[in-house]
């Protein structure tokens, strides 16, 4: 079966600095992939290349077999690949509801469901927006301006907006970062519940290994611009390389501590 998303020997350099080196991978449709790695390992560069924010220096990226290397965010979004951001990208002066209505309106327009002069603010769309917000558990914040939303709510809004166009692939960049420990699982549950029902392919970047273990079918571990482990969580997280270079056992082991988990 053809992979929905694949990379062939993708590399990215910024002058002398190599941020990504010969990355190759294939992801079948419907899989949930956790991307892990220390800061600077190349995870965000990788996500940025897939979503069109950066152009690879070499290599090919394919979506449903089609070459999308070097396309911009607009084109890639329209093809069906969407992303959320480490720092939630919302419209600060609009309310959460208005943010959602806007995202749905654009999605309708791109899908041809709305005409050129069709108004944005319609009761039916507003209803759908409210339903989406409650699906993510943030309907209580509908009337609040996005710039005063709590961090976790803002991230969920960002994700909800990213998924408004019913994409086939979603990349979530650190969906639970900046959020309190108690909230992490609640948020991830809300997200995966919303996505799982539509059998969307999900890639999420995470630092929290518990989250990765709970939600990922497969783990891609990055270090120094390359993938050093690729497999189901139990396997990847137990691999020596991952324990050394991602989880951080290296220092601890050599300091004589012998503790398992950083």
């Amino acid at each position: 079966m053809q992979a929905i998303l694949s990379a062939e020997k993708v590399s990215k350099s910024f002058g002398q600095v190599t941020a990504a080196r010969d990355i190759s991978m294939e992801i079948p449709a419907g899989q949930t992939v956790g991307i892990i790695g220390a800061n600077g390992a190349g995870k965000t560069t990788f996500v940025n290349m897939i979503t069109g924010y950066l152009t690879p220096s070499s290599g090919r990226i394919r979506f449903q077999g089609r070459d999308i290397t070097g396309l911009g965010p607009k084109a890639i979004t329209r093809l069906g690949v969407c992303r959320s951001f480490q720092i939630a990208q919302v419209f600060p002066t609009l309310t959460a509801l208005e943010n959602m209505v806007t995202a749905l309106g654009v999605a309708d327009r791109l899908a041809g469901r709305a005409g050129l002069l069709a108004p944005l603010r319609q009761p039916e769309r507003r209803q759908r927006a409210l339903e989406t917000l409650s699906h993510y558990g943030i309907a209580d914040y509908a009337g609040r301006r996005a710039d005063v939303l709590p961090q976790g709510v803002r991230k969920l809004l960002d994700i909800a907006m990213a998924v408004a166009s019913e994409p086939k692939v979603v990349l979530l960049d650190e969906p639970t970062s900046g959020v309190s420990v108690e909230e992490k699982f609640t948020i991830m549950d809300a997200v995966m519940r919303g996505l799982g029902e539509r059998s969307i392919t999900v890639l999420f970047v995470e630092h929290d290994m518990d989250i990765v273990q709970r939600y990922a079918d497969r783990v891609l571990a990055f270090y120094d611009g390359t993938i050093i482990a690729d497999g189901p969580p139990e396997e990847a997280l137990a691999s020596q390389d991952v324990r050394d270079y991602v989880i951080g056992d290296f220092q601890l082991r050599h300091a004589g501590e012998g503790q398992a988990h950083a």
Partner: protein
């Protein structure tokens, strides 16, 4: 508020049209000039909401004015409606061309580049003898839908035309602002990256807004041209003309499609009184009013109006 605007526009327009028959000539002429400016400011409002302040709308204003003027003087076209349409098209075309470059810039670079473009046109106009250089060009009398109003009814005819044009423009802009692409103004201003990641090209959206604003400015320019009967570079293309449009936008606020016209009308009224009774104080008053609005009333005077309405 949104629904209210469209239902209000009709009665307001009818009232204005009726008023035209009883207004003294000087007031009708003043209102004509004011509403023509209001058209330009309506375009500025569209851009303002997207976070763009253009210091070069005089380019399209003068473009429309001179297109109409040349067509009337040299091309033998003396029908006001046609001249108005030509002006609109000229403004739109200039904006379309300039937009390829302008749509890539924001903030102060956008303001400076738009200023530069308008000054290029100014420079061309001033030095070109066929275009009248600093003396400008005079237009022959125009007819309205084939009818020549004669000298007594001329200002009434101009007034009626500009009111109808303003009504159509206001309806069109209101419909645009409510549509999906039109409502993306504040999102663009807030977060362009997010808009791109929703699948749209911000550059194209801004280009479209520039063309809309240019068309409106061209329309205003053409109407000004044939209603006053004379145009010159200093009155149409110089950077202070663009500045004037921006001032009205600030004073009026961008809360509604009615605001530009109300603002322009008030502006012209105050200006004509001030210029008559205290010519060395007009700019000072204007400057002080602008500072007051900028510092204390960022939504413009219109926000006072809506605030009171909401509180009641």
């Amino acid at each position: 508020m949104q629904q209210a605007v469209l239902t209000k526009l009709g009665p307001i327009t009818l009232a204005l049209l009726a008023a035209g028959f009883v207004l003294p000539e000087w007031l009708a002429s003043l209102a004509t000039v004011a509403f023509a400016k209001g058209l330009v400011v309506l375009g500025l409002m569209v851009l303002w909401r997207a976070g763009l302040v253009s210091f070069g709308q005089a380019l399209y204003f003068a473009g429309g004015a001179y297109a109409a003027g040349l067509l009337a003087r040299d091309g033998g076209v003396q029908e006001a409606v046609i001249l108005a349409l030509v002006g609109t098209a000229a403004g739109a075309l200039l904006a379309y061309i300039a937009g390829f470059l302008l749509a890539r810039y924001r903030e102060i670079f956008f303001a400076m580049l738009s200023l530069a473009f308008s000054m290029i046109l100014y420079g061309i106009l001033v030095k070109n003898a066929e275009l009248g250089s600093t003396d400008g060009i005079g237009l022959p009398q125009v007819s309205f839908l084939g009818i020549d109003p004669g000298n007594e009814a001329r200002s009434l005819a101009n007034y009626l035309l500009v009111v109808v044009a303003s009504f159509l423009a206001a309806v069109a802009v209101e419909a645009y602002l409510r549509s999906i692409p039109g409502s993306l103004a504040e999102p663009i201003r807030d977060n362009e990256v997010r808009v791109e990641y929703l699948g749209l090209s911000v550059k194209n959206l801004i280009h479209a807004k520039l063309v809309l604003a240019g068309a409106l400015a061209g329309l205003g320019g053409a109407i000004t041209a044939f209603s006053i009967g004379h145009i010159d570079p200093d009155a149409t293309a110089f950077w202070t003309v663009s500045g004037g449009f921006v001032f009205i936008t600030i004073l009026a606020g961008t809360g509604s499609v009615l605001a530009p016209f109300v603002g322009a009308l008030l502006f012209e009224l105050v200006r004509s009184y001030a210029v008559q009774y205290a010519p060395e104080l007009w700019q000072m008053i204007l400057g002080a009013a602008l500072l007051a609005v900028i510092m204390f009333l960022p939504g413009g005077l219109w926000s006072l109006f809506t605030r009171r309405a909401r509180e009641s």
